[in-house]
Chain length 359, copies 2
């Protein structure tokens, strides 16, 4: 059956590919009834349902979603809720979302982004409560895990709106899916790179964290400690210092930590401002450049990677995050299965040599 050559029977494979019309004919019912069965709509006798299902099985029907959406004049409307920090990671994520917005009209999809103060659980919950099932077909949310948010998500699901958590999981809510990386593994990856790059040196490691409550931060730190404790016992990770979401504050706390530990051989930035850390390193005038491992590839971290200040960045592709969220949300709407392997977000390791050439 080589349809690609001139000699073979032209368009041989085109035969069949059954449509709703074929089902209607075989089942001996009308198009409308086929549609009702196909879409689980009420008001069909079970005998009739069975007849239709038999025809479907017999013909091996697969529905043409594009045609269905066209007829339905369906546009998917998704809302992305993000925290309102100003950091470059979020900017990058927004760019990823902007890209899907650009290609969205092609797919009959509208996407809106809402930024909500991350510390204000009440406002966040209120925003979610405002979402109208008649207007919104799905929600992607990046937020700290709090009881209020958990309940708001449950409520949305009850109203029939699919929800995916983004970047930071809401494992105790009944969100449909988590789009993001395994942060424990990400921390282990950071620990291993730091351990290997240290090449047998003994010493302390300064750990800078955004805040100690955020789930992804906790998981990363945990993974880091696991692997360092097990494989690099000559390294001594210090208690985390908190940089908040503020470069200047991050610089201050990091500088203080470096001054208290001038023999530190490395710094693990669990999610803090890498700019602040770089400035602290410069200000500390250490005898030897410390190894620096950071999370999330941004313009800043890329520049510092190029400059040789940062040694490696553990990251996740924001474009993938956005597209994956979109695909999963669409799948949930269509009630089609998600392809697991495609939605598995990878933990990327970036060093100077494999920096992506373009943004």
């Amino acid at each position: 059956m080589k349809w690609w050559t001139k000699l073979s029977n032209p368009r041989l494979t085109d035969v069949a590919k059954p449509t709703v019309n074929d089902i209607a004919r075989v089942a001996g019912v009308s198009l409308a009834t086929v549609d009702r069965v196909l879409n689980d709509r009420p008001g069909v006798r079970s005998v009739t349902i069975n007849k239709v299902h038999e025809a479907i099985d017999k013909l091996g029907y697969v529905r043409d979603t594009a045609a269905a959406n066209l007829a339905r004049q369906k546009t998917y409307r998704f809302v992305f809720v993000l925290p309102d920090w100003k950091g470059q990671f979020l900017a990058s994520l927004e760019r990823g979302i902007a890209e899907i917005i650009v290609s969205a009209p092609q797919n009959r999809t509208e996407v809106r982004t809402i930024r909500v103060p991350n510390h204000d659980h009440t406002q966040l919950a209120a925003t979610l409560a405002e979402l109208d099932p008649a207007q919104v077909d799905g929600l992607a949310i990046m937020a700290k895990e709090t009881p209020l948010v958990r309940d708001a998500i449950a409520d949305l699901r009850k109203r029939g709106i699919p929800v995916v958590s983004l970047v930071s999981d809401q494992p105790n809510s009944d969100r449909d899916h988590f789009v993001g990386i395994d942060n424990v593994a990400a921390g282990r990856t950071a620990g291993t790179l730091l351990g290997r790059f240290a090449g047998g040196q003994k010493g302390k490691v300064v750990v800078v964290i955004t805040n100690k409550q955020s789930r992804d931060m906790i998981e990363r730190r945990h993974g880091f400690d696991q692997v360092v404790g097990a494989n690099y016992p000559h390294l001594e990770p210090l208690p985390s210092v908190e940089g908040q979401e503020d470069p200047a504050h991050t610089e201050r706390v990091t500088l203080r930590a470096l001054q208290q530990n001038p023999d530190a051989i490395g710094i693990y930035s669990v999610g803090a401002s890498v700019q602040g850390i770089a400035r602290a390193i410069a200000a500390a005038r250490l005898p030897k450049r410390p190894i620096l491992i950071d999370h999330e590839l941004t313009e800043n971290s890329a520049a510092l990677l190029r400059a040789g200040v940062v040694d490696a960045v553990i990251t996740q592709n924001t474009g993938h995050l956005a597209r994956s969220a979109l695909r999963v949300l669409r799948a949930k709407c269509d009630k089609t299965p998600v392809i697991k392997s495609q939605e598995n977000i990878r933990i990327d390791i970036v060093i100077r040599e494999n920096l992506p050439s373009m943004k």
Copy 2:
């Protein structure tokens, strides 16, 4: 304009979104003429063309590709031509292709894979010559770069079939696009990891290559030498030994190299059978485990990563390769632009800690 709340004007944003009918009305022509202009079909006076274009601009029309394909009853038919080696990388690539085949019917796409003996340029060229533009809408090809293949590609393009090169580029042909990584950068990445993991040790590095002619091999070795020469002068990469595409032969040549250089501190596997290399390491009974950097993540290399025999794998995601080839081919058919950032295949670094959990 918050359409997501109950309070706002329902479906406010739905207004407009102009269609061909609107264009026809505004331009004062028929649907058929609009269609002709939209698709650059011949037989329209330039005055008319202008009228239509003005209407398009005025209305801000964007075409609905899904509806167009439905009407056109268009199914894309793409052929993937791959070498007939038995290796796991190709198996993985085929799995990536299989995945797009599964989801293909949804997108009115048919994909066929042809395996051609890689050494047989003549048969390869003959296979390409057999491709009928009436039957095939696009070609993705992974093959060594030879004049015969180059000409065959040019010929296909002349017959109007878009061509993308896959994994190994055909830079001197006029293929539409290359789907794959920058292999010089991949080699630099391997060199840097080996250099850093060596942690200041002096010593020789055994380099095992599939064959010395293949373009990707040459580029990787080149990048490796660049970075080691510049940044790790205490390392001494040895001349490449050729493993062919054969594990047993790879084992023999690697073992010989290790016996001749028992003080080698590392091995760079540029694209050879990592199984063969692992067996050679075991057989050589070295005083100290050498650092081993390999390319392409497969079941074998993943197992060796877990076992601590391989230290890092430089790889490219075969799922991305397949999907990217598909998207680019479809874009070429539709004459729509490719989104560069989305089609940029990343150089992935995999260590034990960030191994993907599932295949």
